[in-house]
Symmetry: C2
Subunit: 500 residues, 2 copies
């Protein structure tokens, strides 16, 4: 069903010098230890490379405010959003993921043979049974490599993180055969007309996972919180739009943040204690903090929320000067009593303003200019941070990461950036590959709100039609983008790729 | 939204003596090695316990033949099916999984705190965003344990296997904190009236995964084949019914079987070579073989197919006597040319009849009497095998396992049964817990085809309705079964549990 099939290229490791051992040799080594029934984890498992795809068109949030007839600043200052990327009907979750995986492999000069696992996190479900993953296997066809584990994972915006954790565990397990894992997350976030619409977005991110990574998943440092909630869900399967209880969802997000941070801190402090260090973990221990970003303003509030956590956990905080100055009235509060308190929110947002500016603001480039990508959202924050920091700024730092998916599933974990910031180092290469993000955002086409609304209407009308050629022009795609060409009478989808 | 919440019970390990180290101690040990950045895999990771849920009502396939006006034997001899379990509208994927997970924890006297990972494999998607996993978190509410990783995985019938692999990797990884993983797979397999309807079924299986297991996932022995195919999929999201290309799906299944067996054998032979053993891997090296079972007849053909693989791979097979007697005309055939050959199928099915009877037939109890459960299908075969073999028969044996999900994703792997078959051993306890399977099947209520058809019609009519009380009576449920009590106007689902 796929028209264009990509060419296998040279091994990524060969060019980048990251795979210190050839995959085949690694496989052999792994099988040896496997045969013995014992084995150890490889070193520095994490993210080796990262590719971003976002649509080539967007709408200005300030223009949307005026088009929607809401007060000026409601979307821009109120939500913290500048622009929103969107797809016409000829882009679907399969085309988004095809594009970003091919981009990862082509730009990294990776061989399709060198991938032993590929999994997809998404909530843009267009088939209840068939995974996006198996559509992506078309990219592997010429290589003959079909021994590629992993399928799709789903829980709202959390799927990418679940896939990343699965991939890292696989690399550390006896099932690992020395090849890379690829984690893809992608979504098209669209809402019915109304309040929630400006919190949409679309995009996909692919990550290459393996040992000796410049971004290492810190071992043992992971706090998870899962519970049953109906804050945001998609029970009307014939519609692209979710059912959302906005206020409940914000409370769920913040409660999950509190719980995850508590578990994360406890694990970090326990590791320190074993090393003879007795002190509390605080925000100071993260050089940067990235968040799942439904809208940017919530992230700014979240930094304040973490400061509230630090403040309440501190045994004797100085409220006369410094960071906690003037916060004495909030001593003794209980976290669970403060989710709807505007007073608490304002006080801690003000107190954490500088922390936000330093540790988090640079990560919001994609979120503010492309909008909420759902599963890739937090990884878009990571890409934004890497695109705007120098290797020297990042080297050796710890990046805190909070991933949230409604329903709900959330984890806080951390990435340790490698110390080696030299030109040509894995870190330098990773940053270089992302440096063009701002220019790529600038290169998009601005679409007037009325045209955006028309396109959304056509998506709605043609969503899930069989025997159908979707609306959308090749001209509105970046070169190298896969798109949906045709859905036949048996709902089979046929894709083509716009030439590079 | 859940009415009844279960009671936390004593730790499973405490009663069964399987968890040789207390979870907290294990967590500590893990954190130590984590802090050091190195670690080794725990011993014998695999399945510690297994629970099965199937509906309390069924239809006779022979009666269905007559009701459908097809020739006698079409479903019974042609497909190899005897009976088919089915659910009224008050059972959905959430209720199935709630029931089986609670059964696993209650019967195992496991503490909810002792579970650190829970994930769900299913293709019975009733919400595109919210995972079944988060509904299951209601069971953990009283315990306060929310640090439970894992979400839902989807690729047709393969989701359970993906979850099992993920869970085992997690136990071997640095993310493991010493607690158990639980893998749940469940599905309601229903088809529109016509040819495919008698291949339905419904059920759920929960597995407890950890170290020191009586059923060990053999390390390094795993062959996977994934490709893009439209053999069976569910693109009409408003319907419970799939789109099926039956002949294509059988070809895809058999091709995947060939490919997975080839990869599995290569890995097994490579392990042997490293141990100085030079010989081909054959069916003889599996004492038992279990398969994903869309219908039992396909599994019988599949055993023949594996024999064809052995035969074509053999350098100089004896066709004058023994197993391969009379098969000389098939020498030199290519696997890919034989998928539709009735001649090849018949010859190798006949030749493999005894192998099928010994290695596979006992595993088809649930498949033949309850039908296709989709994701739990192969694990139902495992349960059937364990329910009908003695500990002595099983001890030390290798069980080959072939998991297939349309779309397509497939893996062959193997389980090594522990040597210890003594009364009170983990193996003995596991078998004892499953010994009542035949009696539980006998205890179901037989429903006439017309009533079955009426219930299916009502499922179809009320599928995905909001503000709705589903059809179905508590009387048609086994004690302890969760059921869907109400769907409110915002599609939020409320469950209750029939008393034990």
């Amino acid at each position: 069903m796929l028209r264009l099939v990509s060419r296998a290229a040279r091994c990524w490791g060969a060019r980048r010098g990251l795979a210190r051992v050839h995959p085949a040799a690694m496989q052999q080594a792994c099988l040896s230890s496997t045969a013995a029934g014992t084995g150890t984890w490889p070193k520095d498992v994490g993210i080796l490379a990262l590719e971003v795809y976002f649509p080539a068109q967007y709408v200005e949030q300030s223009e949307l405010e005026s088009y929607d007839g809401v007060e000026a600043g409601k979307y821009t200052r109120g939500l913290g959003q500048q622009q929103m990327g969107f797809c016409a009907a000829h882009e679907d979750i399969n085309s988004l993921c095809l594009t970003v995986v091919q981009r990862l492999v082509e730009r990294g000069r990776l061989s399709w043979d060198a991938i032993g696992r590929l999994e997809v996190g998404t909530e843009t479900v267009i088939d209840k049974s068939k995974a996006v993953k198996t559509v992506l296997m078309e990219l592997f066809r010429e290589s003959g490599n079909t021994d590629v584990e992993g399928i799709d994972t789903t829980n709202a915006c959390y799927g990418g993180t679940a896939s990343l954790f699965n991939a890292a565990s696989w690399v550390e397990s006896s099932a690992w055969d020395g090849r890379y894992a690829v984690v893809v997350c992608g979504d098209i976030a669209v809402y019915a007309t109304g309040n929630a619409r400006p919190t949409g977005g679309a995009g996909a991110i692919a990550m290459l996972v393996g040992p000796n990574a410049p971004l290492v998943l810190e071992r043992g440092l992971r706090g998870t919180h899962m519970e049953h909630a109906y804050d945001f869900y998609k029970p009307d399967l014939s519609s692209e739009y979710p059912v959302v209880d906005g206020p409940l969802s914000i409370q769920c997000y913040l409660r999950a943040l509190d719980r995850c941070y508590a578990v994360y801190r406890r694990k970090a402090e326990s590791q320190w204690q074993q090393a003879g260090i007795q002190r509390p973990f605080t925000l100071d221990d993260f050089k940067f903090i990235i968040f799942h970003t439904p809208f940017c303003k919530l992230v700014q509030k979240s930094v304040g929320r973490l400061l509230l956590n630090d403040f309440l956990a501190a045994t004797n905080p100085d409220t006369a000067s410094g960071l906690y100055k003037g916060l004495q009235p909030f001593r003794g509060m209980k976290l669970e009593d403060t989710y709807t308190s505007k007073e608490v929110e304002k006080a801690f947002q003000t107190a954490s303003q500088e922390i936000f500016n330093q540790k988090t603001k640079p990560s919001l480039l994609l979120s503010s200019r492309n909008g909420n990508m759902y599963t890739p959202s937090m990884y878009g924050c990571l890409a934004s941070l890497l695109a705007q920091c120098s290797a020297q700024d990042l080297a050796g730092s710890r990046i805190g990461a909070f991933s949230y998916g409604s329903g709900l599933a959330a984890s806080m974990f951390s990435l340790r950036v490698s110390q080696d910031a030299a030109p040509g180092s894995p870190l330098d290469k990773l940053l270089s590959s992302l440096a063009d993000l701002p220019a790529r955002l600038d290169a998009r086409k601005r679409v007037a709100p009325q045209d955006f609304a028309d396109i959304m209407k056509r998506r709605e009308e043609t969503h899930h039609l069989a025997n159908h050629t979707p609306h959308g022009s090749q001209a509105d795609l970046f070169p190298g983008t896969w798109y949906l060409e045709r859905v036949d009478d048996k709902y089979r989808r046929q894709y083509a790729r716009k030439p590079m």
